[in-house]
Symmetry: C2
Subunit: 376 residues, 2 copies
């Protein structure tokens, strides 16, 4: 990475809202507070505060989208898309990445201390929705003095937050870029999430969510993550990456050890996930995704006129969030005379494509943001 | 069901081979015995024993393919395909359905008593392959006095056994009908099986396979089965069956109970599976599927001339065993100048289609068997 292209080390910052536990009401009717949000920013906010873009992350993501972490080692999860000269050009735009509530990456979630007990919430944490996540993001954006965002962009669950911004605060956003996402989860998507939740809850170490003194349900959570990883790739990309290659040259083990490279990979991904992600957050966030539903007129309620511009991106081999779901968003917008550009990118990478297909996405997003910031 | 179409009650029968524990060598190099096989037969074997068709089952199937079980209540898993006037017309053909070894439906498997200890084998049971299953089926067929089968037919893992018959005993089969199957598992198919195995083995009740005195690892096995069920259906068929319908009319529960019908269905299928299927058999049989590989010239070794006729059936919406895998079988056969009819049936039922698409399969199979038995 050349110096010119690097953002260098970026500190994650924290902001706290609703200091009273009874201040902010969630969709469930329950109240939550205090609420801490982890976020990072890249580039400079301009004088009239009109160059801000909000990046929202997928299921297990965090606020560290670009630059290097404070150890100077780990690049952000979308570092190839955010920085000087990149899709989100930090020479021109002020880019914010906000972590979601319900998670475990610095924002308030089920592993945070419950102010009423001093102990981690566990299942005392209220179930949250995508709209609750976005409600808190709006507070963060306002706290930075920004009245209108140039754009809100995110893939997968990030795309759901993007769509929720449209439904909740259309007056605050000039444009949005929902990537590889859906207006609602299909029963198949709910089913994959539910099996993951069942795997976590079947692990006796889960202890009904009250495991923080004992260590988390690692085996169940690893199984859940393995299922996830299969759905993030495509049949084709797995064939390219692993085929039927064996871990050992001397053939089948005739045991239940992992024989195939793909098995070793899944076990590795499962094991590394449990080191960084909280099992209860897995439950809360997957449930928020399953509850999300902006179909049937809920994306733009009451045929309200909105002037938010849309760039919608889907990927050919993504079978977890298939392109037809992005086309459903296009259809909902067209019924409301909203301007929308839709692009289905050729890719064999499956759902992971939104993290991997940098060139095409850069091309599309750069031009789209240019047209927005030039007021076209 | 009219009396004319019904086979009535059919008794499952049992046959024992290799009475000495050291008689029959498996692919792993280990020996197994005695070996019991559960099977059923329908129709009458003709004088010259030329009208026998062997049906082989999928992963969790059993010998009870047609008619009613001995309680007179449960029809066989392919009852709509086997009987008087049906695809496998028992007025014309003698139909055998053989259970696989490694399972838990009456044939020898990990839950059977180990003759060396008197206790269930558990993980002392040797890992078996699809070829081992077929080796035992051949003994069963021979024990019935049959030298050549008119046909061998099966879907999914049944299709693998069919292909293994071709590779192992081509001289014994006039025709074969592999349905919704593959020459080898792709890494995606291995991955789904491996996650299921991990779910079973992560359950502390699994006790390294030595659970028979305590009860089996129900929760892990249920999770494994839930994953399976998602892969057996299609995105489309799940949408038709469940959409996003809730179990309760009063909206989201804002809890981790099952909110959606699809969640309730999966939990139900998981729970009923653990009542009828052995967790170790789950491990052994999925591993046998993953080990199966007749690609790269192994289906018809050394360009041997074979006169077995092929009818290969795949289904449009089957994403677990996609049609391209059936086309790979066609290609392997064509390279060896083998006669093959290939049909891709329009269906939205996913992999389950081989159990559900009765009309089209009946039409195809009836005519195919006619042409074979007429020696065309």
């Amino acid at each position: 990475m050349s110096k010119k292209n690097s953002l260098g080390i970026v500190e994650t910052r924290y902001c706290t809202f609703s200091k009273s536990p009874d201040e902010l009401e969630m969709d469930s009717g329950r109240k939550l507070g205090p609420i801490q949000v982890a976020y990072e920013t890249y580039g400079q906010l301009n004088q009239d505060k009109s160059n801000a873009a909000l990046i929202v992350h997928a299921f297990s993501g965090d606020a560290h989208a670009a630059g290097l972490d404070n150890q100077g080692s780990k690049p952000g999860w979308w570092d190839n898309m955010i920085g000087p000269g990149k899709a989100f050009d930090t020479d021109k735009y002020f880019v914010i990445c906000s972590n979601v509530i319900g998670g475990c990456m610095g924002s308030t979630g089920p592993s945070s201390p419950n102010p009423k007990t001093g102990k981690p919430y566990g299942l005392e944490f209220p179930l949250i929705t995508i709209a609750d996540m976005v409600r808190v993001q709006k507070k963060l954006v306002e706290s930075l003095g920004i009245k209108k965002l140039l754009s809100v962009c995110g893939g997968s669950m990030g795309g759901m937050q993007v769509l929720q911004w449209v439904a909740s605060y259309p007056q605050m956003i000039a444009s949005v870029i929902p990537i590889a996402t859906a207006l609602k989860h299909s029963p198949q998507q709910i089913a994959f999430n539910e099996v993951g939740r069942q795997a976590v809850m079947a692990d006796p170490d889960w202890r009904h969510g009250d495991y923080y003194e004992h260590g988390q349900p690692e085996q169940g959570l690893a199984v859940a993550r393995m299922i996830g990883h299969i759905t993030y790739m495509s049949d084709d990309s797995m064939e390219k990456k692993f085929s039927r290659r064996l871990k050992q040259d001397n053939g089948y083990s005739f045991s239940f050890k992992s024989d195939f490279e793909v098995e070793g990979y899944l076990r590795y991904r499962g094991d590394s996930f449990v080191k960084r992600f909280d099992a209860n957050s897995y439950l809360y966030i997957t449930k928020a995704m399953d509850y999300f539903d902006l179909s049937r007129g809920k994306l733009i309620p009451h045929k309200k006129k909105i002037d938010t511009k849309f760039l919608i991106i889907a990927f050919k081999s993504d079978w977890l969030y298939p392109a037809y779901q992005s086309k459903d968003i296009v259809r909902a917008l067209k019924l409301n005379d909203v301007e929308v550009t839709y692009c289905e990118i050729e890719s064999t990478a499956g759902h992971d494509a939104f993290l991997l297909e940098v060139d095409e996405q850069t091309h599309l997003i750069k031009h789209f943001l240019n047209s927005i910031s030039n007021g076209k």
